[in-house]
Symmetry: C2
Subunit: 123 residues, 2 copies
């Protein structure tokens, strides 16, 4: 089962907003793992670069010119994003191509939703 | 200027989805800091508990019974969430009351949005 399949399977049960009812310890652990992967500026930029790249996919060869980092360092960050279920990858010839898993971003976005940005602090 | 004011001021400029165009290094740094604060299960549960508590606010006295942690440990995690711009606080008598800043959650949710959860990996 790929990361993509896993993300799609779990998407509905993990989508309910965390502002609506207290998260269980298990669910908090699961979501925190994904937020932790995103809590690093290089990884956020990698994710954004891949998602917005032509065709929604990119290989390290496409990514490297945008970063002042070695290919092994970039590959390490890509591995963290992949293990957190945010990226899928496929080897084609010499290169591995990465693609964002939309369901994974969608479920994080939904978990944080339902917050009215205009609500005042009335306390 | 309070955390609430800061979050509201910056909300519009930080809301554009990261899947649409590559994040700048500066913006990635800023968003990553908030994701990092959420990348810890206890902090996620704290945020969720406060947001879903009666009246949308809670003090450590309300929170402590749900956690097998000391009050100083809980206070430390609350401080991290506050410094990341996710919580506002107000002292009333003996207790400090915490409240989630809706604009902060909204901007994170928006940054992760625009991802179609049903999109297949076609690569």
């Amino acid at each position: 089962m790929s990361n993509q399949d896993l993300a799609l399977t779990d998407a509905t049960e993990r989508c309910s907003p965390l502002v609506r009812e207290p998260l269980s310890a298990g669910r908090a652990h699961e979501i925190a793992r994904t937020f932790k992967a995103l809590g690093e500026p290089v990884r956020l930029r990698l994710l954004s670069l891949i998602a917005s790249h032509d065709g929604g996919e990119a290989c390290v060869c496409d990514i490297s010119p945008s970063f002042d980092l070695s290919q092994p360092t970039i590959s390490h960050h890509l591995k963290v994003l992949r293990e957190a279920g945010l990226l899928d990858s496929e080897r084609r010839g010499t290169w591995v191509y990465y693609r964002v898993i939309p369901a994974a971003l969608h479920q994080l976005s939904s978990a944080l939703a339902d917050a009215d940005p205009t609500a005042a602090v009335t306390a």
